[in-house]
C-alpha cells in the first residue's frame, strides 16, 4: 500500500486515492478533424511501460484534486509528484 504525498494535503494512505491511468494524454481540441486512427490513438492506446511511468492520481477521499505522479512500475517507487498542467520531470 503506497504512501502518496498529495500536493494539496500531504502524505496519505493509498486507500484515499484512485488512479486515473497514463498522464499527459490531452483531449484533442478538434476531435472532428481527426481520422479514425488518430482518434483511436487518443482513445485506446496507452504505453503501460516497465519503468518510470507518468500517471494521473486523484485524492478521491480527500481534497478530490487530480495531480500527476511519476512512478517506477517495476518497484512502485514514486519518484515525483507534480500538479496538473505542469510538464513531466526529466527522470
Amino acid at each position: 500500500m503506497f504512501l502518496i504525498n498529495c500536493p494539496y494535503c500531504g502524505e496519505r494512505d493509498q486507500s484515499e486515492f484512485v488512479s486515473g491511468g497514463e498522464a499527459h494524454i490531452a483531449r484533442p481540441k478538434q476531435p472532428t478533424e481527426l481520422n479514425d486512427d488518430q482518434w483511436a490513438e487518443y482513445l485506446f492506446m496507452r504505453k503501460n511501460i516497465k519503468g518510470i511511468q507518468f500517471e494521473r492520481w486523484n485524492h478521491a477521499h480527500g481534497c478530490r484534486k487530480w495531480f500527476n505522479v511519476a512512478r517506477d512500475t517495476s518497484n512502485d517507487k514514486i519518484e515525483k509528484i507534480y500538479k496538473m498542467g505542469e510538464q513531466p520531470p526529466k527522470l
Binding site: 500500500m1 503506497f2 504512501l3 494512505d13 493509498q14 484512485v18 486515473g20 490531452a26 483531449r27 478538434q30 476531435p31 472532428t32 481527426l34 479514425d36 482518434w39 483511436a40 482513445l43 494521473r56 486523484n58 478521491a60 478530490r64 484534486k65 487530480w66 518497484n75 512502485d76 517507487k77 496538473m84 498542467g85
Partner: protein, 1001 residues
C-alpha cells in the same frame, strides 16, 4: 505412559499447572507452557497424521511454523473448529480437543495408505496426467480425491468469535524478538526512537534464551543469563511497545505491514468469553528491521519421513525448553556443527545418544571436541541410506561415503534408535524480505540465499541475514543497526562474545543411496509428498523454470509454503542441470507468511457492518409499511410493498395499475443530484451531454444523455435550470459518484478555463414523486396557492414554493409516462413531505410503489435504464435515441466516437421491443435470442434486458438488444429456455401511449 520422557525442568514449563487435553479421542496431560506438540511428545506420541498423497505415517518434525506434518483439526464444534493448526505453534490449554487430519478411518489404520504401495503409479504431475481424460469423468475423480485427500474440515457454522483491527505507527518496527532483534530494539530506543517489537512466540529471546552450553559467553556470562537481563531491561523501556504472540503476516510496499496477534487461543475455552480472539495490526513503519532468524534444514535420504525423525534443533528445544525427551535411543545425523549442541543437550539431560553420523570428514571446532571428549561414537564421512519402522522409526542404516560424496561404499551398519535428529544446515528466514520485493543473492559458503537489494527502508540482521554464530550475530547486528539508524555509539560497542566456530562445511542436496533413485523415497516436501524423484522427473519432462517445477511437483505449495523443502528442491535442480543456484533464482514467497483466519482479515466488517448502507429520509416509513428492499449501489431502495401475503408479482401488478389509474408515489431520493454553478455552467452542460442546452430557459427541465469518450452511453438524467448560472443535475442512483468524479476530472484536467463549480447534493435533498391521472389534484391539496395549470406549470418545468417554512422544489417531469410531480425538499423534511402526500392522496387511493413497479411503468413507455438496458457497449444510435444527439454542436464528450467505423456499423446490437406470441408468457431477463433453432452451433443474436407483464396492456412486454434489431421489426424470433422454446415478435420499444397524452393527466 510407562516411559518417563519428562525431565526435571524447567523455567519455561509450569509443572504445577497440569492441563488435560484430548487427542484422537484419548485423554492426555501436559503442562502450562507446553505447546500441543511438546505435550504429545511427552506422551510418547510422534505419529500425528498421514501424508497427503501416499498417506504415509508422519510425526512431529519441528518446533515452529515450518512444521509440515503435525497439522491438526482443533475443536469439535461446528462453529469453532479450526483446520490446519500446527501442533508446534499452538499453546496447550485445558480442555483442548484435537484430531488428526487427512486419514480415514483413523491415523493408525488408514485406507489411503495403500497409495504408498501404489506410489510408482503416482509420480509428479500424476493428477494432471491422469485425471484430465476424459474430461467428463472429472466429477467422479474429484469425489474420490476429496474423500481420501484434503487437509482438514472447515467450520460449517458462522464464526462466533470477535476479531479486531488496529492501526499502528512507529519509527522502527522490529520483526522477531530473538537476540538480534532485542539488541536492535535497545539501540533504537536509546536513540529515542519509537520502537514496535513483534514476537510470534509467547516469550522473547528466541533460541538463545534456552541455550545451556558453557562455550557461548557474552560479557563473561552464560549467554542465556546475559539475554534475560537485556529482556528485563527492554520490558521496562517506555520507547518500546512489545507485542508477543504476534506474527507478521504480510510485508507490503512502503513499509506497510500486517501482523496478527493471538489474544485468546492459549486460554481454556471458558476463559475466552467476550474477549477478542485475534487482532490484526496494520502497521506503517518508517524503518523495518527483520530479525526473523533461520530454520534448520533436514537432509534428503531414503525414508527420511518416518515418525521419530526430527530436526536436531527441535529435539534440542524440546529438551531444553519444554523438558521433553523425544526418544530414549537417539541418533544424530548432521552435516554441520549445530547438531552437536543437540548432542550436548541430550547428554546433559541423561538421554541416551547412540551415535552421531556426520557426512563431513571431520570437525575440530570447540563444540565438536567437547562432544568427542564425552566418548560419543561419531561416524565421520557416513550417510544414512535407509530407516526402518512403519509408525515410528526403530533403526537407521548408514554407509560410508566415497571421496566424491556421490556414492556410498563399504558395508551397511544398523543403529537402533527411536528418534533421529537431522540437521542439514540452516536457511535464513528471508520470506518477509522477498515478500517486500527484496532481491536475494546466493552465498556459496553456507549454501543459502541472503538478502541483497531492497527499495525499502529496511534491514535484515542476525541469522535472517545469514549470520549463524553468536559472535557474528551480535557484532554484525550492532554494527548494521547503528549504520541503519545513523548512530555513532551504542551501549553494546564493547561487547565481548565467545562461541564455538565452525571450520568444516559440507553439503550434499540429495544424499547417495545403495539403491537406484527409482527405488527410493527421499522426501523434500513432506506436506505435499514430493520427493527428489519427482523433481528429476519434472526436469526430464522439460520443466526448466523453478516456478514450473514447483507447480508440476507441488513442491512448496502446502500451507507451510515449503519452508523446509525449497532449498533442497533448488539444490537438486541446480545439481541435475549443472546450474549455479544463484542463477536459478528462488520461487516467490507470498503473503501470508503463516495462514490467517478469514475472521482476522475481515475484523469487525461482518454482518451488517460488511458494507455501509444508505437509507433515504423516508426509510422508516417504508419499513413500517411492509416494504421489501433491494440494494442499489449502497442504497436500500423500497422494491415493492406486499399487502396481505401478496407475492412480488401480485404487488407489482397492483401498484402499477394504481399508478396508471389513479395515483402512485415513489421515493426518488436516491437519484444522484449535482448542483452546478458558474458563468460557464451552460457551456459545460453542452460539452458533457449529447443534446443542446443553450436555449434552456430558467425554470425549465431537460433530459440529457451522457456518453463516454468511446461513444457509449454512460448515464442519463434530468437537469433543471434554477437560475441564470445555476443548474441542478440528476443522475442515476448507481452512477451518481462516478458521474461526479468524471465531471470533476474534465473540469480540473481538460477544461480548467471553465468557471464551473460542482457540489454533490444527493444526500441533501429528499424526493417524493407523485404520478397518475390524479396527481394534480393531490399536489393541489398540498400547495393550495400554486397554479398547476398546463400553461403556468407545463411538463418539463420547475417551480420553487413554500410549504410553511419548508422550501420545495417541484419538477413536473415523468419517468412513468403519467402526469407526474417530483417534490424535492431538504432531507430532514423528507418524511414529512412524504406523509403529507400520502395523506392528501388517500381519497385517490395513492399507492406507494417501489423500484420494480417503476421499472415496469417506464418499460411500458420504452424508457431505458442505463445499466440494465445498456451495458457499456451501446451508443445512443443503438438505443434508437438518435433524436438526442445534437447535430449542431461542434463537440461533446463521445461525439467523435459516434462515427468511428465500428460505431456506424449497421449490424450492431440495437434496442428493440419484444412481444411474446402467447401474451401470458413472461420472458426471463438475460434469455438469449435466436433465429434458427436447428443450426448448430446456434447464432446468438441478442438477449432480453427488461421483461414484465403489463397489467394495463394485459400482455407480456420486453426490451432486448438484438443484432440488426432496427431492421428486424415484425420478424419472428425464438427464445430457447431449458424446457421450452418461446416464440416472440420484434416490436417497437414503446408499448403504451405512443402519443404521450398521459403526461397531461
Amino acid at each position: 505412559m510407562s516411559k518417563n520422557l519428562r525431565i526435571n525442568n524447567k523455567q519455561f514449563v509450569d509443572e504445577t499447572r497440569k492441563l488435560s487435553f484430548v487427542f484422537n479421542g484419548k485423554k492426555l496431560y501436559g503442562y502450562k507452557g507446553d505447546t500441543l506438540a511438546s505435550a504429545l511428545l511427552s506422551n510418547d506420541i510422534h505419529l500425528v497424521g498421514r501424508s497427503f498423497k501416499y498417506h504415509r505415517p508422519r510425526g512431529i518434525m519441528t518446533s515452529g511454523s515450518e512444521e509440515p506434518n503435525a497439522i491438526l483439526q482443533i475443536g469439535n464444534d461446528d462453529a469453532l473448529t479450526e483446520p490446519n493448526v500446527r501442533a508446534t505453534e499452538i499453546e496447550l490449554y485445558d480442555g483442548l480437543i484435537c484430531n488428526s487430519q487427512n486419514c480415514w478411518p483413523s491415523v493408525k489404520f488408514d485406507i489411503g495408505g495403500i497409495n504408498n504401495f501404489l506410489s510408482p503409479l503416482l509420480p509428479a504431475g500424476f493428477y494432471y496426467k491422469t485425471f484430465m481424460w476424459p474430461a467428463s469423468f472429472w466429477g467422479k475423480y474429484e469425489y474420490f480425491i476429496r474423500k481420501s485427500a484434503g487437509l482438514g474440515k472447515s467450520p460449517t457454522k458462522q464464526d462466533p468469535d470477535m476479531y479486531d483491527h488496529r492501526y499502528m505507527h512507529c519509527d522502527i518496527l522490529i520483526v522477531g524478538g530473538g537476540v538480534s532483534g532485542l539488541i536492535a530494539a535497545k539501540i533504537a530506543s536509546d536513540d529515542n526512537k519509537k520502537v514496535l517489537l513483534l514476537e510470534d512466540k509467547e516469550l522473547l529471546g528466541g533460541s538463545l534464551i534456552y541455550d545451556d552450553n558453557d562455550i557461548s559467553k557474552i560479557d563473561d556470562q552464560k549467554s542465556s543469563e546475559w539475554l534475560k537481563k537485556l529482556i528485563d531491561n527492554i520490558k521496562n523501556d517506555k520507547n518500546i511497545i512489545i507485542k508477543t504472540r504476534t506474527s507478521l503476516a504480510a510485508y507490503h510496499n512502503y513499509n506497510f505491514l500486517l501482523a496478527r496477534q493471538n489474544l485468546t487461543d492459549h486460554l481454556s475455552v471458558n476463559d475466552r468469553n467476550n474477549k477478542i480472539r485475534q487482532r490484526l495490526y496494520k502497521i506503517r513503519a518508517k524503518k523495518v528491521i527483520i530479525s526473523t532468524g533461520a530454520i534448520e534444514r533436514p537432509q534428503v535420504f531414503h525414508n527420511n519421513d518416518r515418525p521419530g525423525i526430527m530436526l536436531a534443533s527441535a529435539v534440542k528445544k524440546y529438551i531444553d525448553y519444554y523438558g521433553v525427551r523425544c526418544g530414549l535411543e537417539n541418533v544424530i545425523f548432521t552435516n554441520n556443527d549445530s547438531a552437536y549442541e543437540t548432542a550436548l543437550s541430550l547428554h546433559k539431560s541423561g538421554t541416551k545418544l547412540n551415535a552421531i553420523v556426520d557426512i563431513r570428514d571431520n570437525s575440530s571446532s570447540e563444540i565438536v571436541n567437547q562432544v568427542k571428549g564425552l566418548g560419543i561414537q561419531i561416524y565421520w564421512n557416513h550417510s544414512v541410506v535407509d530407516t526402518k519402522g512403519y509408525k515410528r522409526i526403530n533403526k537407521v542404516t548408514i554407509m560410508k561415503l566415497n571421496d566424491k560424496g556421490n556414492d556410498v561404499i563399504g558395508k551397511k551398519i544398523e543403529l537402533n534408535c527411536d528418534c533421529l535428529s537431522v540437521s542439514g544446515g540452516w536457511t535464513p528466514m528471508v520470506h518477509l524480505f522477498t515478500q517486500s520485493g527484496g532481491k536475494l543473492k546466493f552465498d556459496n559458503k553456507d549454501n543459502i540465499f541472503v538478502p541483497d537489494k531492497t527499495n525499502l527502508n529496511q534491514l535484515s540482521i542476525g541469522s535472517a541475514k545469514g549470520d549463524f554464530e553468536l559472535d557474528d550475530v551480535l557484532k554484525n547486528s550492532i554494527k548494521d543497526t547503528k549504520k541503519f539508524l545513523n548512530i555513532e555509539n551504542s551501549n553494546f560497542d564493547k561487547i565481548d562474545v565467545k562461541c564455538s566456530k565452525e571450520k568444516d562445511k559440507k553439503n550434499i542436496w540429495l544424499l547417495p543411496s545403495d539403491k537406484p533413485l527409482s527405488k527410493t523415497k527421499p522426501f523434500l516436501d513432506y506436506q505435499n509428498d514430493s520427493t527428489a524423484k519427482d523433481i528429476k522427473l519434472a526436469l526430464r519432462e522439460g520443466f526448466k523454470s523453478i516456478e514450473h517445477v514447483k507447480r508440476y511437483t507441488t513442491t512448496g505449495m502446502g500451507t507451510d509454503q515449503g519452508k523446509l523443502a525449497n532449498m533442497h528442491a533448488l539444490g537438486i535442480v541446480a545439481d541435475t542441470t549443472n546450474t549455479n543456484m544463484g542463477d536459478l533464482g528462488t520461487t516467490t514467497f507470498r503473503p501470508p507468511y503463516t495462514p490467517l483466519t478469514f475472521g482476522t482479515i475481515v475484523g469487525r466488517n461482518v454482518g451488517q457492518f460488511f458494507d455501509i448502507f444508505r437509507k433515504t429520509p423516508m426509510h422508516d416509513w417504508h419499513v413500517d409499511n411492509n416494504a421489501k428492499f433491494e440494494n442499489v449501489g449502497q442504497w436500500k431502495r423500497a422494491w415493492y410493498y406486499p399487502k396481505d401475503g401478496e407475492t412480488m408479482y401480485d404487488a407489482v401488478q397492483r401498484e402499477s395499475k394504481a399508478a396508471r389509474e389513479s395515483s402512485g408515489i415513489l421515493d426518488a431520493s436516491t437519484l444522484g443530484k449535482i448542483d452546478i454553478q458558474g458563468t460557464d455552467a451552460n457551456e459545460f452542460l453542452n460539452r458533457v451531454y449529447t443534446n443542446a442546452w443553450s436555449k434552456l430557459q430558467i425554470g425549465k427541465c431537460r433530459y440529457g444523455l451522457m456518453l463516454n469518450e468511446d461513444g457509449m452511453v454512460y448515464d442519463d438524467g434530468v437537469t433543471t435550470k434554477l437560475g441564470e448560472n445555476h443548474y441542478l443535475m440528476t443522475t442515476t442512483t448507481g452512477g451518481a459518484a462516478n458521474v461526479m468524479s468524471k465531471l470533476e476530472d474534465y473540469l480540473q484536467t481538460e477544461w480548467p478555463e471553465l468557471d464551473v463549480f460542482l457540489t454533490s447534493v444527493t444526500d441533501h435533498y429528499a424526493t417524493a414523486s407523485v404520478c397518475g391521472p390524479n396527481a394534480k389534484k393531490i399536489i393541489n391539496k398540498i400547495f393550495k396557492n400554486l397554479d398547476l395549470s398546463d400553461e403556468s406549470f407545463p411538463h418539463m418545468s420547475f417551480k420553487e414554493v413554500k410549504l410553511g417554512n419548508i422550501s420545495c422544489r417541484i419538477m413536473r417531469i415523468s419517468f412513468t409516462g403519467e402526469l407526474s410531480y417530483e417534490i424535492n425538499v431538504e432531507a430532514s423534511y423528507g418524511k414529512y413531505i412524504w406523509e403529507k402526500c400520502i395523506e392528501a392522496g388517500k381519497e385517490f387511493n395513492i399507492t406507494p410503489y417501489g423500484t420494480e413497479t417503476m421499472h415496469l411503468l417506464r418499460a411500458e413507455k420504452g424508457f431505458i435504464i442505463v445499466g440494465q438496458d445498456t451495458d457499456g457497449t451501446m451508443t445512443p444510435v443503438d438505443l434508437q435515441m438518435d433524436w438526442i444527439i445534437s447535430k449542431k454542436k461542434y463537440d461533446f464528450i463521445g461525439k467523435r466516437s459516434l462515427y468511428r467505423s465500428d460505431t456506424i456499423r449497421e449490424d450492431r446490437k440495437q434496442l428493440v421491443g419484444l412481444l411474446t406470441d402467447d401474451p401470458n408468457e413472461i420472458l426471463e431477463e438475460g434469455a438469449q435470442l435466436i433465429k434458427d433453432g436447428n443450426k448448430n452451433p446456434v447464432d446468438m443474436l441478442g438477449h432480453v434486458t427488461s421483461s414484465y407483464f403489463s397489467p394495463t396492456l394485459k400482455k407480456s412486454i420486453a426490451l432486448a438488444i438484438l443484432k440488426e434489431g432496427k431492421k428486424l421489426k415484425g420478424q419472428k424470433l425464438l427464445v430457447p429456455m431449458i424446457d421450452k422454446t418461446i416464440k416472440v415478435t420484434v416490436s417497437d420499444t414503446i408499448f403504451l401511449d405512443k402519443e404521450n397524452e398521459r403526461i397531461n393527466g
